[in-house]
């Protein structure tokens, strides 16, 4: 019935057209110029700021949303009692002052006067208690209620056995106190999470799924529109407690946008600020003279590496684990994503590492790696390629992550010491399920984000024996070390900074020598903004904190209309010329 083309010319033409199309893709290894001049202007109100995420935002409910993208938008909508200043230090936000009792068990927050919620209601101490109780209520799907388990009465309330959280007390109209069962050096850090933000009473006293669409707090912006997979739009909250702020009228955050689309939109001025540049694109911008001063690396608060399951052979032998840590060539990993991958041999990232730990860490040394293999009784002879561990070892990584590329390099590096690795790529849910199951995965890619900027977050939840379970173990290495357990418990209740520094140094030494992880790198993003965006720089703790940025609207070129090609005719002609030979 159907026939085939009878003419080879047809095929030739087909290939030619495709070739031309591909060629137009091929000749654009350069970046567009910044839009408009950079002028020093004082903060002024007005304008729309646009950015984008690669992912969707799951929810904007302070009580339930805990992923990175949600946290950025929540930072615009909610203010907390306490937050971080420009230097990454804790500082009061909605609280005017914070008082800690000498025994470290009682935190008293005195609230600012005149703070208004987006619905116009004034903020009082009972709003704080109501919001905390809403988050920790047994019916609320809060992902991390156990962060607050040290508040007196938490257990009874969270189990549904008590009608209120007794440890949180309204002392007066503007004073609220939190009573803890044990001292907790991390308490103010967990109070700085958006999850503890005061929310409007008018949006519902208890949790409902509708809250996310009416998200209402006391932050500088109020929510106008939230469409999953499309965009979040917020508008200036005129009643914000810092008078004159914020400056921008509206912020639009597009969701689920491919990184290369983000770059193209940024070039056209459809986005004013971006973070998720591809590695290659960020290289181009970093090298471009025109863009100097308009971009900056964010400070990573995460550490990545390779976990080794200390309960499974061959990694039950600490020498094999040490051999892997020595064999891992972190510089090669960094060369694959120059700039984005920063090699490291230590758990705590630079941004929050105490001075005392900075010189501790694993490092690459092939001879030591071979020596450790010998000590393990698995000597490998590189000349004859004999010896080593006889079986293939499974390496589990999440698909579409850098852990995959790291695995492909690790595979080559470990082959040099007699360990053969087979890579398995799985989706995120499977990765979580399998790495958390006892005696299941011998090794794999692993990463950890700081829950809050404090070193304990890189040890306690992932490397202590308390974190080991048969299922859902957060300790993927199933690594258990009594000394590490004990010193971390001490660090948690110690408030003396120097002492804490010494304890964390010892913790780093244990990780270096026992190697439950081969610590490898931290991953960071390069952020870039157009010259007319002012007052923004990456914050050391709060991601993408654009709250108090402002726009130089005079310097921003007019936007292209419905028929943008009319204004870009030069380039269009050029492009057509490539099509018509």
């Amino acid at each position: 019935m159907r026939s085939i083309p009878r003419r080879p010319e047809a095929t030739r033409l087909g290939v030619a057209i495709l070739g031309v199309a591909l060629a137009t893709v091929a000749c654009e290894a350069d970046v567009a110029a910044p839009l408009g001049p950079r002028r020093e202007v004082p903060p002024t109100q007005g304008g729309v700021l646009r950015s984008a995420f690669f992912t969707d935002v799951r929810s904007l409910d302070a009580a339930t949303a805990f992923d990175t993208a949600s946290a950025v938008i929540e930072g615009l909508i909610y203010d907390q009692l306490v937050t971080y200043d420009r230097h990454g230090k804790l500082s009061p936000q909605l609280a005017e002052s914070i008082e800690v009792s000498p025994d470290g068990l009682r935190y008293t927050f005195t609230l600012r006067r005149g703070v208004l919620f987006h619905d116009g209601a004034p903020l009082g101490a009972d709003d704080v208690k109501r919001s905390v109780e809403r988050t920790l209520h047994p019916d609320t799907p809060c992902p991390v209620p156990s962060y607050y388990e040290r508040i007196v009465g938490w257990g009874e309330y969270h189990e549904g056995r008590a009608p209120e959280l007794t440890g949180v007390r309204v002392e007066s109209e503007h004073v609220v106190s939190f009573q803890l069962a044990q001292p907790d050096a991390t308490f103010l850090h967990v109070m700085a999470l958006p999850i503890m933000a005061p929310v409007c009473e008018s949006a519902g006293r208890t949790w409902t799924r509708e809250f996310s669409r009416r998200a209402c707090g006391a932050g500088p912006y109020r929510l106008v529109r939230f469409e999953h997979g499309d965009a979040v739009e917020v508008e200036r909250h005129d009643g914000y407690w810092q008078s004159g702020k914020p400056y921008v009228d509206r912020i639009v955050w597009y969701l689920a946008m491919q990184p290369f689309t983000q770059r193209f939109k940024f070039e056209r001025g459809d986005l004013d600020y971006i973070r998720e540049l591809g590695e290659a694109d960020s290289l181009l911008y970093r090298r471009s003279a025109a863009w100097q001063g308009l971009g900056e690396w964010e400070q990573p608060l995460s550490t990545f590496g390779v976990f080794m399951n200390a309960e499974l052979r061959p990694f039950d032998n600490r020498h094999v684990r040490r051999a892997v840590a020595f064999a891992l060539d972190r510089d090669q990993l960094a060369q694959v994503r120059p700039g984005h991958v920063a090699p490291t041999g230590r758990m705590t990232p630079d941004a929050i590492a105490p001075e005392a730990v900075r010189d501790v860490g694993q490092r690459h040394d092939l001879d030591r790696a071979l020596e450790e293999m010998r000590l393990a009784g698995l000597a490998w002879d590189p000349a004859t390629r004999t010896g080593g561990w006889p079986e293939e070892i499974e390496y589990l990584a999440i698909l579409d992550s850098f852990g995959q590329q790291a695995g492909e390099l690790l595979q080559q590096q470990l082959a040099r010491i007699g360990l053969r690795v087979r890579i398995q790529l799985v989706g995120f849910p499977t990765y979580l399920a399998r790495t958390g199951r006892r005696r299941t995965v011998p090794m794999g890619s692993v990463g950890w984000n700081a829950d809050y900027p404090e070193p304990s977050t890189f040890f306690e939840p992932i490397l202590t024996s308390r974190a080991i379970q048969d299922e859902e173990s957060q300790n993927a290495s199933f690594f258990s070390n009594a000394e590490l357990d004990a010193l971390l418990a001490r660090a948690r209740v110690t408030t003396d900074e120097a002492e804490r520094g010494r304890l964390y140094r010892r913790a780093e030494e244990i990780v270096r020598d026992e190697a439950p992880w081969a610590v490898a790198y931290s991953y960071r993003y390069f952020e870039l903004w157009q010259p007319y965006l002012h007052g923004y720089r990456p914050h050391p703790v709060l991601q993408q904190d654009v709250r108090f940025a402002w726009l130089d609207r005079g310097a921003r070129p007019a936007r292209a209309g419905l028929f943008p090609w009319r204004r870009r005719s030069g380039r269009t002609t050029l492009a057509l010329a490539t099509v018509l030979p």
């Binding site: 019935m1 991390v144 597009y254 689920a256 979580l432 943008p564």
Partner: protein, 329 residues
């Protein structure tokens, strides 16, 4: 009449079987949505609570019973605030609540369906118009420049996977030329049509290529037939003969092709919607699968299977109406 009933029963069975198979596969996969929802860093006790809240700690048959038991309800909702059903008349269709977005699945599907329909209809128009016109022209100018040009283009259309065509179209027409938006859906209908051009072309091109050749070949056979020659001999304009008889013939195979191609269209739509950030069923389902958002996946599968089955049913019905012999088969 009994033919109709039997056909309906078979359709219902098919949808049920597809959804059940998906349900079983999803629930025996060795993983746990609760941990994804809680986040990678959540503590085990918190994950356990979420699992309990979602009923994921119940055995498979209980969850299965709950899913199908709640699917269709005739009673009014007990509590309108937490109701997740969509109601037409007195009948409610309840697909549950998305684990991650915590919105009723019916609402998510209702939002994602119009963009996908728009895209599908436009793609179909691209396919029929481009395919029909190109096929007619190619046949009319057989072995001419136009013919082999068309045939060459159709070959590209058939041989280039959707993800390749999509990326190229986006790069060339949206980025280099700037004629169309790079991605997105748009707020007004004008914007939407403008934004839909490239994804619809991506999706329609493959079909158009296939369809062009279908039409061209039909036409070639047709044009050699006596009555066409007679028509021309009588002095009827060439184009009129072509359009009158060609168009009718061009639409005939469409019925069959559409029914067969719906499945393929869905596959293409997943990739296309992802590239162009089109907020339709494809985007929804990819995210749901990656995040193991069970209720959304079952909802999507139910919708897709029903669509395919309904389309096939209608095609069969059309044939049955046109050709009574089919009914006896």
């Amino acid at each position: 009449m009994s033919w109709l009933l039997r056909r309906l029963a078979v359709s219902a069975f098919t949808v049920w079987a597809v959804v059940t198979a998906t349900f079983v596969v999803f629930n025996v996969l060795p993983e746990d949505p609760a941990r994804v929802i809680a986040g990678p860093q959540a503590r085990p006790a918190d994950v356990a609570r979420i699992r309990e809240q979602l009923g994921l700690d119940r055995p498979l048959h209980v969850r299965y019973g709950r899913f199908f038991g709640g699917l269709i309800s005739l009673r009014p909702p007990a509590d309108p605030a937490t109701d997740s059903a969509v109601r037409i008349g007195g009948v409610g269709l309840d697909l549950g609540v998305s684990y991650l977005r915590r919105r009723p699945v019916t609402e998510l599907l209702g939002k994602a369906l119009p963009p996908t329909l728009l895209l599908g209809v436009l793609a179909l128009i691209v396919q029929v118009v481009v395919g029909g016109v190109a096929g007619c022209l190619a046949a009319a100018r057989r072995n001419g420049l136009l013919d082999w040009g068309t045939v060459a283009l159709t070959l590209i259309g058939i041989s280039a996977p959707t993800f390749l065509t999509g990326l190229l179209l986006q790069h060339f027409f949206a980025r280099t030329l700037g004629w169309f938006p790079l991605d997105g859906y748009g707020a007004t209908w004008g914007e939407r049509l403008h934004a839909a051009a490239l994804p619809a072309a991506t999706l329609g091109l493959f079909g158009a290529a296939y369809y062009t050749r279908l039409v061209r070949d039909e036409m070639l056979v047709l044009l050699r037939q006596d009555w066409v020659r007679t028509a021309w001999a009588k002095g009827l304009p060439r184009w009129r003969v072509l359009v009158r008889h060609a168009l009718r013939n061009a639409l005939m195979p469409l019925v069959t092709v559409v029914g067969l191609e719906l499945g393929g269209l869905v596959g293409g739509a997943i990739v296309t919607e992802k590239i162009f950030r089109w907020p339709g069923i494809g985007s929804l389902s990819v995210d749901a699968i990656v995040e193991r958002d069970g209720p959304v996946v079952f909802g999507v599968v139910l919708l897709l299977a029903s669509t395919v089955v309904a389309a096939n049913f209608l095609v069969d019905l059309a044939y049955a109406v046109l050709d009574p012999r089919v009914r006896r088969r």
